[in-house]
Symmetry: C2
Subunit: 234 residues, 2 copies
């Protein structure tokens, strides 16, 4: 099966959680909107589908169109051998991925607390207040939670022996948070040595390593979820 991923062409954004799974599995896929005419195709699908996505990313898999990162990964997981086979294991994995979803939204809101339709410059003061609570309480709470899950699992992965898409998502979270908040993350990671080691192991996986060094990996920038605004990293 060859997959078609549809996502904004200029950012890692939420699409990156899907890309990492496809890349790690060595799956055949097209990153449609990054090719010529792809954006128009993406917008047309959002308009015309009988079961339309609310927003990108979405994945075409044969006759299926699936949106929402956690739903896409739930579908792909067993097919890419990045999920356990049993129902209890899949539900637990999905529960963790949904907690990543919540975390990603809060990360996004560090630079856009008042409204995604407004410029960062028009909510800079509020962003600073929001980020204070984020770096002081929320990020340590989320990462502390995943550190505990990792420890409980017996390691070396978040599900224990089985490597899964949640490990790839955790890699991306840590990579992105380090980019956005180098100072804040240095402090927070003192309490999450297990996640730090997991991040390093994921970065060394051959296909991930090759992907990160390729042009397929879009660099962090000032339009994505993880943005480096030094004034926020107090």
């Amino acid at each position: 099966m060859r997959y078609q991923l549809y996502y904004w062409p200029d950012i890692q954004g939420r699409g990156e959680f899907v890309r990492l799974a496809l890349e790690d599995a060595g799956a055949a896929y097209d990153d449609v909107a990054r090719a010529k005419g792809g954006m128009a195709r993406m917008m047309a699908i959002m308009k015309e589908e009988k079961r339309p996505p609310f927003a990108p990313p979405f994945l075409k898999a044969g006759r299926l169109t699936i949106a929402q990162v956690a739903d896409i990964l739930f579908y792909l997981g067993p097919r890419l051998r990045l999920a356990p086979a049993d129902e209890a294991g899949r539900l637990w994995l999905q529960q963790l991925q949904l907690t990543v979803t919540d975390f990603v939204k809060e990360i996004h809101d560090t630079h856009h607390p008042v409204g995604s339709g407004l410029y960062y410059e028009d909510q800079k003061t509020e962003a600073q207040r929001y980020t204070q609570g984020f770096l002081g309480a929320r990020a340590p709470k989320y990462l502390g939670y995943f550190e505990r899950v990792l420890k409980n699992s017996g390691g070396p992965n978040l599900l224990g022996r089985k490597f899964s898409y949640i490990d790839l998502s955790m890699f991306q979270l840590i990579e992105g948070l380090r980019h956005a908040f180098p100072k804040g993350m240095a402090r927070i990671e003192r309490a999450t040595p297990g996640l730090t080691a997991l991040h390093e192991r994921v970065a060394q996986r051959p296909r991930i390593k090759a992907y990160l060094a390729s042009e397929r990996r879009i660099p962090f920038n000032a339009s994505g979820i993880f943005r480096r605004y030094p004034e926020l990293d107090g």
Copy 2:
């Protein structure tokens, strides 16, 4: 199977999306934290579980513990006959429920845009700015999307002929938004007559009607997701 639902005892909150499914199906369940000693039990589980919930609500179903509303509903759906049986249908239903999850977070943020750890009174000005964009753009976008999904499905439910848990969630969203923003919603609902009719039909389902009239339904209040602050409903 008798289920145990664990959620904060004094608010509808996110737990309500699960309660509505259990109630509509006439399922046997305990709303644990509302009974004597239940809160202590809930906190103990969050501490002690090997696969811990990040936050309530969570559901105990035999040996399973499942957190995250969309994950709980994904599990319960087929068992309560509130989901289609085929994979494509279940994925589509979950995709819609995840869009509800995103919407609920934005609704919550109308009164807490700067931080969930701060009082509303300390972010009132920001809440007004946030809610302007919410009522002017975000809520119409979300509800317009679901109106389109309903129309595409052929009705009378969001999945077409099959009544499912997304219809119950949509009922709750409309009920809550009307409570929080009576003026704003009166405007918005002019463009979503299908959802308005769906809301009315759900309210008339015998078990839902009985539930809403019972003491099991916690009234809207100033601690939940849907809060009536007239200054926000501009």
